[in-house]
């Protein structure tokens, strides 16, 4: 471990010319660095090691640099990986479509109710995550008003046609899982969007109008680009945890909606195949980092993240 910390610490003073009191920032950084080492770097190393070990709980595990575990993990579980990414992306899009108008409304149209509305956005967090997800079982239940409305309006047929549900009930389907994800992560989208929309100078909208921009052009050429920082951080804050989530798919999904988090859970707890669970965690981490890196680069807003 010593070598690792020295790498980080030792590299710091090399770059920009030395300033006075160079030690102070280091001391101030120390708690964060220690935290990072103890709670991130060391566990990551332990996980990396576990993923390359072979053995079982009866005979113990030894590091054999068994990279085949990774091949095995990917070839067996790529559908669940893909599914997790698709669900997380759908949920992110859903939160964006719902959250953007909401954030705009709170930022510019809510007047003196602004604080109240913001508190309301965060309010679900006062309840336990599990309880909030379980509540969706009641919301979408077969005899409930939501299912009744969907049936009466023929929306169930539409959902079935696009493959989001398997029969005329809403619960235990892809639809329910994505709904749960959207609901649970909505505040993570709304809050960053709100901060960036709230800073937007409304005089720019008047200026756009003066230059004969219609509503669409005003939005697409003025509001949207200026809100991009919020969009980027909101989508990241939603996508990353949603991809690893497994409670929503466990409680609201069926046997065809299993996400990668559930696989890791079952391999770690039930099968006791620690190496493959560790390898799956690593692959998930790598996939998310890659996707996020590509996304942030494409969005061109590096300085904002």
């Amino acid at each position: 471990m010593a070598a690792l910390t020295q790498a980080t610490v030792g590299a710091a003073p090399v770059g920009p010319p030395r300033r006075r009191g160079g030690l102070v920032p280091l001391i101030l950084l120390a708690p964060a660095l220690v935290w990072l080492v103890v709670f991130f770097i060391l566990p990551t190393i332990s996980l990396a090691s576990q993923s390359l070990q072979t053995g079982d709980i009866d005979n113990g595990y030894t590091l054999t640099w068994n990279f085949a575990t990774y091949v095995d993990a990917l070839s067996r579980y790529w559908p669940q990986f893909l599914r997790s990414i698709i669900y997380a992306a759908s949920a992110t899009l859903g939160t964006l479509l719902l959250g953007y108008p909401l954030a705009w409304f709170i930022a510019h149209r809510s007047g003196r109710h602004k604080t109240t509305l913001l508190v309301l956005v965060v309010a679900p967090f006062f309840t336990n995550f599990l309880i909030r997800t379980l509540a969706w079982q009641i919301i979408l239940t077969d005899g409930g008003p939501v299912a009744g409305f969907f049936r009466a309006t023929g929306l169930t047929t539409v959902l079935q046609a696009v493959g989001l549900t398997d029969n005329d009930s809403l619960l235990y389907s892809q639809f329910a899982v994505i709904c749960g994800l959207v609901y649970n992560f909505l505040p993570f989208m709304v809050l960053p969007l709100y901060t960036s929309l709230e800073r937007l100078d409304t005089r720019l909208l008047d200026a756009a109008g003066d230059l004969y921009a219609n509503g669409w052009n005003t939005f697409w050429k003025v509001i949207w680009p200026l809100s991009l920082p919020g969009v980027v951080s909101g989508t990241l804050l939603t996508f990353i945890p949603a991809a690893g989530d497994y409670i929503n798919s466990k409680l609201l999904g069926n046997t065809q909606t299993v996400m990668i988090g559930q696989i890791i859970d079952s391999q770690f707890l039930r099968v006791l195949d620690y190496p493959i669970a560790a390898a799956l965690s690593f692959i998930l981490m790598a996939a998310i980092i890659t996707l996020v890196a590509v996304y942030v680069r494409a969005a061109g807003t590096e300085e904002l993240v």
Binding site: A3, Q50, D56, N59, Y172
Partner: protein, 407 residues
């Protein structure tokens, strides 16, 4: 915010220097990390203990029972009597008669999760902070195999003579050296007539193939119960199941899952959807069904005609328990039929203590006459317990089963 539009060449060279030096350092760090990875192995049981026999020297801790009148007990949620004030009368009776305080924790939600919680401590030879807990048969088998639990001292459990004769001999713990049952139950089929359109669901075949139940069926995440009922349907005795038979039964479940007949695999959480009708029929445990029926009398329940998978949850005492004797006195307390009657009257599972029924016949005849709580000899004769598995088999079976559950 003014950005650095023109890059200072001096700064650039500095940056370049930093980069190369940094990458060199990263390389070194990588090497060091590789060394660390190697150091991260875990010993397991067999590398510390001599092969086969559990290492008894490390198991017992100096018993503080006589000086420290406490016992720490972990149990499943809602698995004990509760009165209107939220107290547990059977525990209070124990404290009153022995002066031993019981720290009762309902932190045993799931065999696998609990095992994951205590395994690192037991493997590292540390005290788990618990003197006794209640594990299902197959988990007891694993704990014995790994040498993680201690032999019971029968001298402290004179009431043991009340143990139900049918539970005395079990394959996973011959002679009941390490474990004594707390409650038992059956796995069977439960259905909600409102959701099945009044139709009765009585066979596994119907559960897995009746088109009118499609997408409204759940099975259990407990491998031995879910695969067990299918095996029994196929005429296999689950106490002698072979790997091929297991595989064949699993293929039937896989097919039912792929066809969309089975919507999910659950733990205890099947109860709410079953009561509401979101689940039309499912595999269910007897105690849950008795409790559910109190509120939904129309719920139907069917036990297998040829065989019934039975499980018990058993008291065990982990290595290095600080109050072993107190834990044994606690077990002894519950083997008094008068005390077990109080528990059985509330939890509605099958009590393992002979004489419990006689007490309840007077106190609460509706419980005493319930075949799911006090099964007849005819039903008991049909019960089967899943065979104890070796380490390799357990991993193999679990892997196959999880591939179906999560595939």
């Amino acid at each position: 915010m003014p950005g650095p539009t023109q890059t200072d060449p001096l700064l650039m060279s500095f940056a370049r220097g930093a980069l190369t030096r940094r990458s060199a350092l990263t390389g070194l760090a990588g090497l060091a990390a590789a060394g660390l990875l190697t150091a991260c192995g875990s010993p397991g049981r067999n590398s510390t203990a001599t092969s086969g026999a559990p290492n008894t020297a490390q198991q017992a801790a100096p018993d503080k029972s006589d000086t420290d009148k406490v016992v720490n007990w972990s149990n499943w949620p809602e698995y004990i009597d509760v009165d209107d004030k939220g107290n547990h009368p059977s525990i209070d009776a124990f404290t009153k008669s022995t002066g031993i305080k019981v720290n009762y924790n309902e932190d045993y939600n799931d065999n696998d999760e609990f095992f994951a919680k205590v395994r690192p401590l037991l493997e590292g030879g540390q005290d788990t902070g618990r003197d006794t807990w209640v594990s299902t048969d197959w988990m007891v088998a694993r704990l014995i195999r790994l040498g993680y639990i201690q032999k019971l001292d029968y001298a402290n459990i004179p009431n043991l003579s009340n143990l139900e004769p049918s539970l005395k001999q079990v394959q996973f713990d011959p002679g009941r050296v390490y474990s004594l049952p707390w409650q038992s139950g059956f796995a069977g089929i439960a259905y909600n007539p409102k959701a099945t359109g009044g139709k009765k669901v009585t066979t596994v075949d119907q559960l897995l193939h009746d088109p009118s139940l499609k997408g409204k069926v759940t099975m259990l995440t407990e491998m031995r119960d879910t695969v067990g009922v299918v095996l029994i349907e196929q005429g296999v005795n689950i106490s002698q199941v072979t790997a091929d038979q297991f595989k064949a039964a699993l293929a039937v479940i896989q097919a039912a899952k792929d066809s969309g007949q089975i919507k999910g695999f659950t733990g205890n959480e099947y109860t709410k959807p079953l009561a509401s009708g979101d689940t039309a029929a499912c595999l269910a445990w007897t105690g849950d069904v008795v409790q559910l029926r109190a509120d939904n009398p129309s719920l139907g329940y069917a036990l297998g005609q040829t065989g019934i998978p039975m499980f018990s949850d058993n008291f065990v005492i982990p290595n290095l328990a600080q109050h072993k004797k107190n834990a044994e006195l606690l077990i002894n307390h519950y083997y008094d039929p008068k005390i077990m009657a109080v528990v059985a009257d509330y939890v509605n599972y099958i009590p393992p203590v002979a004489g419990t029924k006689d007490i309840l016949v007077k106190k609460d005849p509706s419980v005493a006459n319930n075949e799911l709580i006090f099964p007849s000899q005819e039903i008991l004769a049909k019960t089967q317990v899943f065979r104890a598995l070796s380490a390799e088999e357990e991993t193999d079976f679990n892997r196959q089963f999880q591939a179906v559950v999560t595939g």
